[in-house]
């Protein structure tokens, strides 16, 4: 077993802790690549059988989650190989991001029950435990099958089946030309096949890939933009949420002239949160540019925190711009309206007739921050439901789709470059198997059935 495998070891669902397990010769190497201690120093070596506290970071040193990491050196581990376990928040998004990272470092996704199987094959588990092990394999298989079934929703499955069908038809065409040249002729219409594959295979696969790429939820967390008039406390809010000084906070309005973003984690869900330049009428060119970017960013966001200082009366222009933003975006974005500085007890309520704040808080006195976090989670969890995951493939799926797309390129190269059809058949078959793996059923070899159904064969 020269491969390193990984999987999320805990059942999916919110709340509690999630565990990701890595086993194999590269387990430690991968851990060293993705883990840093709280002071941001990467480990040179991870001491086995100790709990390490720190962060998982991606290759751009972007923080993903706060974790506990546990390294067991082989053969004194469950699988008798080097094993690393990472305990993170249990949010499926966090878990998937970490898993994705590990896969990108070269690990392979474990088959159901593969850890247990390795444990057994490596002689880790003694004979009396054999039957219990089998139960575990069976149990895991059924849960992971259930998971697979629920992950591959009807829509995605139907779409993939259609693509597989196209590929299988083309393979049958090629096999017929190879095996029955007397009956069906021995020339392949490459051009027609290229067109067909482009429309019926490439385009839908590309679209699935695009959905995945576009899905900021899975890649970069949910995007939050804090917007509002200058000096309403946006930067302070960001810092309060981050628990650190990131934006330069001064009482001078307009301090934040550019965008400042960071990843935060609220109840296990990653958010990319952006502090923006305050929206106001200004002659300052730098500040104008900042404001333009604020608008751009709001368009890309999943959620806007529209913030104003409730202790100040807003002038007409300020009021108008806030109301304009609210009206313009509420149809298309989640908006949480936040009134800040309630500690000053001088609520003006200038907007109350037109917009009612969802949350009233004081960043300075840390009043209402928890309510805000809760509100944010509620707002995005409405957005997150199954209907979204149904068209967006998960990490495992997208890996296979990417492989299928690579094979597609080879098939097209082959067809255009007059490569032998026996070679194109190999690529087609591999492409079919990649997509079949997503659906979870092995694609059975019905090529002969297809040939006999479509072509009149025989003397």
């Amino acid at each position: 077993m020269d491969t390193t495998i990984t999987a999320i070891a805990t059942p999916s669902g919110r709340g509690g802790i999630g565990i990701i397990r890595i086993s194999g010769i590269d387990a430690l190497g991968i851990a060293i690549k993705i883990f840093v201690y709280p002071d941001k120093t990467p480990p040179r070596f991870i001491k086995p059988r100790h709990i390490h506290y720190g962060y998982i970071i991606d290759k751009n040193s972007k923080y993903i989650d706060e974790v506990l990491l546990f390294y067991m050196n082989g053969p004194q581990s469950y699988t008798a190989e080097d094993v690393v376990e990472i305990q993170s928040h249990s949010s499926p998004i966090v878990l998937r991001k970490i898993l994705d990272l590990i896969l990108k470092c070269g690990a392979e996704l474990a088959e159901p029950g593969e850890f247990t199987k390795r444990a057994y094959l490596n002689g880790r588990i003694d004979l009396t435990q054999a039957e219990a092990v089998i139960d575990i394999i069976n149990a895991r298989t059924s849960t992971s099958l259930d998971m697979a079934v629920s992950q591959v929703s009807g829509q995605l499955k139907d779409q993939l089946n259609e693509i597989i069908n196209v590929l299988s038809d083309d393979r049958a065409r090629i096999e017929a030309i190879i095996d029955f040249p007397d009956d069906v002729g021995d020339i392949l219409d490459q051009r027609q096949m290229v067109d067909r594959l482009q429309t019926l295979v490439y385009n839908p696969l590309r679209k699935l890939k695009q959905n995945f790429d576009d899905s900021n939820i899975f890649r970069d967390g949910i995007k939050i933009v804090i917007a509002g008039p200058p000096n309403s406390g946006k930067s302070s809010l960001l810092n309060a949420l981050l628990n650190k000084e990131k934006s330069i906070v001064t009482p001078v309005p307009g301090t934040t002239r550019d965008l400042i973003d960071d990843l935060i984690n609220i109840e296990g869900i990653p958010f990319e949160i952006t502090d923006t330049a305050g929206i106001q009428d200004t002659q300052d060119q730098v500040e104008q540019l900042g404001i333009l970017r604020t608008f751009d960013r709001m368009k890309l966001s999943d959620l806007i925190i529209l913030m104003f200082d409730g202790s100040q009366s807003l002038n007409e222009k300020e009021q108008k711009s806030l109301i304009d933003i609210y009206n313009e975006y509420r149809q298309i974005k989640k908006i949480v309206v936040v009134e800040n500085k309630i500690d000053l007890h001088s609520s003006h309520g200038a907007l109350f007739n037109k917009i009612k704040p969802d949350i009233r808080l004081s960043v300075l006195e840390k009043i209402g921050l928890d309510e805000l976090k809760k509100k944010i989670c509620e707002a995005v969890l409405d957005e997150l439901p199954e209907n979204r995951s149904s068209i967006v493939p998960n990490v495992r799926h997208i890996q296979l789709i990417e492989s299928a797309l690579q094979l597609y390129e080879q098939i097209i190269d082959g067809l255009k470059g007059d490569r032998g059809c026996e070679l194109i058949a190999i690529d087609l078959n591999e492409c079919i198997n990649c997509l079949g793996e997503i659906i979870g059923s092995f694609v059975h070899d019905d090529i002969l059935d297809r040939i006999f159904h479509s072509f009149c064969i025989g003397k």
Binding site: V133, F180, D182, G420, E422
Partner: protein, 629 residues
């Protein structure tokens, strides 16, 4: 059979082969050449190695089988060369992996040549008789009894009954018992097998009409001649036969179809008389007419049955109609208006033994020492039969001599693919070899069958010393030449680029290794070699392999990765007496299937129908447990 006394022939044979068709001949020859005393029994010795259907050997995937039989030391390719009247390499527009040889053969010459080889073979006795019964004691076969009640004793018996097992011929509503037109069927043996507990199934095949040459207007057909410079079929034949006879291609038309459709109620295939399953790739004309109604015309290929024969095999006109329909049907074809039918087309039903009852050696699981090969295992085709014949013959002989079983896996030979398919998945329709059944066809080519299998044939004692030495030398030369091509640099000189452009290839900017140029579709070995500073071209049978290995390199490497994965599972053996009932965690359905098929390895188990990946995991764990780690 209730006979009071049985008379025994005094001789004790090592191997008895029942049936001298393409399977039986290869089985008997292999066993005798391995040093066994062999008895070959045949209802009519004038029908040894007959070609009751098409007068040709080989074709796509079948050509590979014949080359493999040849490389192992079998006879089929040599006899084909002796009797060939036309050579064709199919799929030459495609890559070498799917090139397949096909010969048209003089049937009579084929039969005579094979019979002569059998007669001259040491340790081989030929007997003309009809076998009616198997002698079995304590689950082990001991010999056979013929229709006169005379018994022959043998340690192993190989059954190659072809279409003779309860054969029943149909021509329209007319039915009669026959193994082939004009030959006895074998009903007693079928009963004997049923009594022993074998599960028999029924299949159907058929053959087109034979027409008189002089009654055909060949001007209405397109002539198809042999390849110009044919390669012989056998690796040991020096030169392909010069005698060349053409075939002729024509077409059926709307009227042909209409005649058949109008009389469909008189076809035993369509009025329910025929129960046997027929092959989809070899349809009766009734099937073509019904299943592809939109097609107005189908190929008719007229193939000579032999040099001295005036009979013409009318491929594509196979049917099971009564003669009063067959005649107008045949005559509806342009050029056949005056055709005289010498032998009518007919359909035949016969019994086969579900091959799931066989081990990968082709020995039955039920009766020790009893082997089966050819159509009795549910296959069709001379080549499929011959390949199983040599396989069963080798295994029967090996077993007598206490040698290990002879099994080629799916990455070694088409024969291995076929046998694995049969014993692992069974078959409901007559099984024919296709290249698409072979997962690793890039590495299992016709052109390298000798490189793949000669050494194995030599170890078995079927290939001589000189031949195997030549193979070893050739392998070394090929490796050396590949190394040379990969390390020789071609520099971007003007005359070289001029030459490349003249061959429609791009000029080179920097020095490149010769293999990089050889990978280009438009350049072959000769072209690339001519660019070397000091060309040292090698022999064609070496350069051809070098060219294929380099041109296919990427894909071949990918196949080798797959093959390694495949072999890892094959390596995990399952003992024959493995108790699936004691395996915790398998469903009852899967348990029963495994107990029935008794796969030899985890790999074979994984290819069975309805086996899940988790069942394989469970088995793997249980096997480790059993191994007493």
């Amino acid at each position: 059979m209730g006979r009071e006394t049985m008379f025994y022939y005094g001789k004790m044979y090592d191997v008895i082969v029942v049936g001298a068709g393409h399977a039986g001949c290869e089985a008997a020859l292999a066993a005798a050449r391995m040093g066994c005393d062999v008895l070959l029994m045949m209802i009519d010795l004038d029908k040894v190695a007959a070609m009751p259907c098409s007068p040709s050997i080989g074709g796509t995937a079948k050509g590979q089988l014949v080359k493999e039989i040849d490389a192992l030391g079998g006879e089929m390719a040599k006899i084909s060369d002796m009797s060939a009247i036309q050579y064709k390499t199919l799929n030459t527009r495609k890559g070498p992996a799917v090139h397949s040889t096909r010969t048209q053969n003089d049937k009579n010459k084929y039969h005579k040549a094979m019979k002569s080889v059998l007669e001259k073979q040491d340790r081989l006795d030929l007997k003309q008789t009809l076998v009616e019964q198997l002698i079995v004691e304590d689950g082990t076969v001991k010999g056979v009894v013929d229709f006169t009640g005379f018994a022959y004793q043998g340690k192993k018996v190989v059954l190659t009954t072809g279409t003779f097992l309860s054969g029943l011929i149909h021509i329209g509503a007319m039915r009669f018992q026959a193994g082939r037109a004009g030959e006895f069927a074998s009903y007693g043996l079928a009963e004997s097998l049923k009594t022993l507990g074998f599960e028999l199934g029924r299949m159907k095949t058929g053959t087109p009409p034979r027409l008189h040459r002089k009654s055909i207007d060949f001007s209405r057909f397109i002539k198809h001649s042999s390849d110009e410079n044919p390669r012989p079929f056998s690796f040991s034949t020096k030169e392909a036969s010069r005698l060349q006879l053409p075939s002729y291609i024509g077409h059926t038309n709307k009227r042909s179809r209409q005649i058949v459709i109008d009389n469909l109620d008189r076809s035993p295939l369509y009025c329910g008389t025929i129960k046997g399953i027929s092959a989809r790739y070899c349809p009766s004309f009734e099937d073509k007419a019904v299943k592809f109604p939109q097609r107005e015309s189908h190929h008719v290929i007229l193939e000579p049955e032999g040099v001295e024969s005036e009979e013409i095999y009318a491929s594509g006109l196979g049917n099971s109609m009564p003669l009063d329909v067959q005649i107008p049907f045949v005559r509806s074809v342009e050029g056949l208006e005056e055709a005289e039918i010498i032998r009518p087309a007919y359909a035949i039903e016969y019994d086969y033994v579900n091959p799931l009852q066989l081990r990968p050696t082709l020995e039955t699981k039920r009766i020790s020492g009893l082997y089966m090969a050819g159509q009795i295992n549910g296959t069709s085709g001379y080549e499929e039969a011959g390949a199983q014949g040599i396989w069963a013959g080798i295994n029967a002989a090996s077993s007598v001599q206490g040698r290990p079983s002879f099994i080629l896996d799916r990455s070694q030979a088409y024969i291995g693919v076929m046998v694995d398919d049969l014993v692992t998945r069974g078959t409901v329709e007559p099984y024919r070899m296709f290249t698409s059944r072979a997962e690793y066809r890039l590495v299992m080519r016709e052109d390298n069958a000798d490189l793949r299998l000669r050494e194995i044939g030599y170890e078995l004692g079927l290939v001589d010393e000189d031949t195997v030495r030549e193979i070893r030398d050739r392998k070394t030369s090929i490796d050396k030449e590949i190394q040379r091509i990969k390390t020789t640099v071609i520099r971007p000189m003007e005359e070289i680029n001029t030459y490349l452009c003249s061959r429609g290839s791009n000029a080179i900017q920097n020095g490149v290794h010769m293999d990089q140029l050889l990978k280009r579709v438009e350049l072959d070995y000769g072209a690339v070699e001519s660019l070397a500073k000091n060309p040292e071209p090698v022999d064609e049978n070496i350069s051809r392999q070098v060219e294929i290995e380099i041109k296919y390199e990427g894909y071949i490497q990918r196949q080798h990765v797959e093959i390694n994965k495949f072999r890892n599972l094959e390596k995990i053996k399952i003992p024959l007496d493995f108790d699936y009932g004691a395996v915790h965690g398998l469903s009852n359905e899967i348990r029963e299937k495994l107990a029935l098929i008794k796969p030899m390895s985890l790999g074979q188990a994984s290819r069975m129908d309805g086996i899940t990946p988790s069942a394989i995991s469970v088995l793997m764990v249980s096997l480790k447990k059993g191994s007493g780690r």
